[in-house]
Subunit: 92 residues, 2 copies
């Protein structure tokens, strides 16, 4: 895994509704109707994360979930992060 | 629910292994052997939180879970936060 070029990253971001780059990481805040929905979303993504061996940095308070993605081993944002973000958007 | 006095809070903290006050919130970082253990801990506490109507601010990256507790409605740390912290310590 190598970090995506800025050009590739910008192309991917066009198809990733709600995601931005913040401090070198792929970033999005999700807002749900309730804590149950927010944590249900996190639980689904926890299973996907563990299965793929790729885990997020994420923060939750009540109905909000804030996610930051990077691939530590690669030292940047890789296709793994893009794939995680796409899955998150599908599940949200 | 009213915020605990500083005196009561200090007394409670003596029985709350690992918890400190950070920026006016009850704070602790938990470290586990794996993401599975960390998220299992969060899942258990999510059920307790929802049942009690009292939810944490928490951050997770891989095997680490950082928690901040306060009672927004009361404008400070209350017995609800102390109870949540005790449950967390039992489950960790």
């Amino acid at each position: 895994m190598t970090p995506l070029s800025l050009q590739d990253l910008e192309a991917e971001l066009k198809n990733l509704d709600g995601w931005t780059i913040e401090q070198g990481k792929l970033h999005r805040e999700f807002k749900f109707a309730s804590f149950v929905e927010a944590f249900g979303f996190m639980s689904s993504l926890a299973l996907v994360s563990e299965a793929n061996g790729h885990h997020p940095e994420w923060f939750n308070v009540y109905n909000r979930v804030t996610v930051d993605l990077t691939t530590h081993d690669a030292g940047g944002i890789t296709q793994k992060d893009i794939d995680w973000a796409k899955t998150a958007n599908k599940l949200a």
